[in-house]
Symmetry: C2
Subunit: 191 residues, 2 copies
């Protein structure tokens, strides 16, 4: 018999981050994660394909948040204006300041494991490909779409790393806007 477990995915994620941080990612099993919040292994695997995916569960929603920003940009927006809109949409909806502490815990697990770092790079490469696809669907030519999307994801990645620093008070949305301005200044300079 399958009972519905309200908020099971969130409880499992919370517990997993805690165990990964204290025992290490390699040393923690899916069963232990489930048991630590009074759930079964079976419930765990209803929500996640493996323990690694607990850390990458939000990827689909993050991509959706970027794509919503592409969609909401005005019809006459330039490629980089569309990317700016995607960055605003994703950072505001997906990473409010309440989430910073949890994002820090997640990042410190990833920083200690090369395979997880590779998974994270793969996630960001897929995100860039999805944004480039959405730009092309808006009529942006292939090369411009790829460059704008890749640049947007680079800006996001750099701003995100800064957001996670212990002494950083600015919001991710503000940091992203600042890094984007710096990129534009840099490329407007002699080159």
């Amino acid at each position: 018999m399958t009972r519905w477990e309200p908020g099971a995915a969130e409880r499992l994620q919370e517990a997993a981050l805690e165990l990964f941080a204290t025992r290490g990612f390699e040393q923690t099993t899916a069963t232990e994660i489930a048991q630590s919040v009074g759930l079964t292994e079976r419930t765990f695997f209803r929500h996640f394909s493996d323990k690694r995916e607990v850390l990458f569960h939000g990827q689909h929603l993050l991509t959706q948040a970027f794509l919503a920003g592409v969609e909401n940009a005005p019809p006459d927006a330039s490629p980089m204006e569309i990317v700016a809109s995607a960055l605003r949409s994703a950072t505001t909806s997906f990473f409010p300041d309440e989430r910073r502490h949890r994002s820090r815990s997640r990042q410190s697990v990833i920083d200690q494991n090369p395979a997880l770092q590779e998974r994270e790079r793969h996630k960001l490469a897929s995100l860039a490909a999805a944004v480039a696809g959405a730009l092309r669907a808006r009529g942006v030519d292939d090369l411009a779409a790829t460059l704008a999307a890749e640049s947007g994801v680079t800006v996001f990645r750099i701003a995100f790393a800064q957001w996670l620093r212990e002494d950083e008070p600015r919001s991710l949305a503000d940091l992203t806007a600042e890094v984007l301005r710096e990129l534009l200044a840099l490329t407007r300079d002699r080159a």
Copy 2:
């Protein structure tokens, strides 16, 4: 007794690409690669830590070619001018047109194997980090150095993919210069 094998590394690389292409990467062993050119497994492992590294052997030299370009840029060059110099240096010295066929064979092996794709992403991330470090050593501030280096590697990656297309006649140096111009045009547009 260890005999010196002239050009052993190159012969092993050549043989490996051939076997990876015909039998598949997973199905080919280091011993088979060595034997196919009349060398021993021991000779193979003197040159490469494993069969995967045959595909990434040139990474160190590629990084050096980028760094030489950073070094050769005039003292008053802007960050993106320095990156343009790094791209010119790497593409001209490291990827003459004679190398295109071999680069295509290598890429088609990588395209068929997700673990090799991750290794390639890791290589490019390390390259960007090395270029950013060299920019900082020239006095470029941290954020500008990271953004300029990441943008340069993005330009390289996109131009490289185009260079490998079957019907592409332009040199990698020309393609890289074109993609860089497109990036600058894109970010000079409204954003």
